[in-house]
Amino acid sequence: MAAAPKRPFRWHIVVFLAPAVLVYTAIMILPLAGTLQLSLFRNIDQAQIFVGLENFRRLFGDPNWSVNFWNALRNNIWFFIIHMIVQNPIGVLLAALLSSPRLRFSAFYRTAIFVPTILSFVIVGFAWKLILSPLWGVAPNLMDLVGLKNLFTPWLGKEEYALTTLSLISVWQFVGIPMMLIYAALLSIPEEVIEAAECDGITGMSQFWKIKLPLILPSIGIISILTFVGNFNAFDLIYTAQGALAGPNYSTDILGTFLYRAFFGFQLQVGDPNMGAAIATMMFLIILGGVCVYLFLVQTRLRRYQF
């Protein structure tokens, strides 16, 4: 700003920036910092006392908390793994098919497959709960059509299946996002690259694996980090389908539902803002860790091709 003394202070920049920065700072950044800070305090005799890492020691060590915490973390990791191995390959497959040239009705497919993504978790959770309910019999009837009726069990009610079922419901809801982003990436591959590949006799499947897939890897990276952040922050679907207790027997408990119970209390458990803040801090660190891994390890290694 060598020119600064020559021109008057540009107030309009402040005016343009102020509303966004003020709202963002006051409602997002300060509470986030406040939450991190609260996790270091305890409420003793109506006063907030600084206790250092005591809350975290309880979270990891005290069986009242740690059993639930590690369970929620494990479940959350499984939730994420299912998304990565089911949602993203399906998304890539659908996008690859959609982007094939001169495909008819592609706008229709695109619009239809994206429909679940715009619905709220409440609708999705309840609709699937009804469909999978043994009372109603839609799922058993359908499975009967293909002769698999004896494989049906009330998946949402069984400890060993409930979490995987909910993860798959969530995949069903969000598969539209990887599909769209990959589709966009595939469309942006220039015609010349494809033509050059065809001149060299690379077509069909091998063209996809050798030419297109490496070019869309950055998009797959972005989708993975978006999925990571979304999954470790998830709450609504589990809450709607299984309630705050994330039943059966906490088998679908993830960090979001655990945070809700710790913070607000539920039934016999009394709400504890400080422990809630400690859990939120852990979620923050996990998400931050994921984002850092992505930014510093994945993104710098993926080669971006400029056309």
Partner: protein, 279 residues
Amino acid sequence: MSTATHSLPRTIGAHAVLLTYTVIALFPVIIVIMNSFKSRAGIFGAPLTPPTPKTFDLIGYTTVIGQGDFIHYFQNSLVVTVASLFFVLLFGAMAAFALSEYRFRGNSMMGLYLALGIMIPIRLGTVAILQLMVASGLVNTLTALILVYTAQGLPLAVFILSEFMKQVSDDLKNAGRIDGLSEYTIFFRLVLPLVRPSMATVAVFTMIPIWNDLWFPLILAPSEETKTVTLGAQLFLGQFVTNWNAILAALSLAIMPVLILYVIFSRQLIRGITSGAVK
């Protein structure tokens, strides 16, 4: 393109896969809407068939409209969504303009600061947000929700809009300056109209999560007066677990407005995504 890439079996295969997935995507929605127009006997007797004159019944809808205060919840959702959207677009566009148009000390730091919120979810600050709202007496008001959603929507809005604002021609803005227009007039009269299509994209991206959110209405505004339609539907569904007609009707009522809006705006949304707005 070589003919090998669209041989007939390949095309049929592609359609088969896409059609199968389309059925998987739409089936739960269709089955819920279809059954909401049936009598109880029809729902359980033949869940997979469309309503026939014999099974057609609107009992579910009359129960929902009689029991739940859905019109009111609907208004709350509408107020919250529209107001948050307005502030996100206005404040977001202003900040994006400042960041993309002027060179000043701390410009890129400010950009990074505002972009933090794209990756770090605002939910993690809930404990302190609730304390803040309690302290300022905003609990159980729509204002609390509007403030939170404005903060939540701003980072992505600023990020996307500043990408688009960089593309507005400098000559145009400088011509305006020579004609003696103030910076504010340049922004509102010249730049805003030119980025209107990208504003629509941002609007759609901002709107969907706000309309569908359950977490903040549950925590900040659970009172009867301020319930949004998502929270209202959640509680209503919890109360009527055994009344399948009412549940299916409530679900259909919650699906239909979103679905209608989506059909109207889907081209805008899909163009927004595929034009690389979210990179």
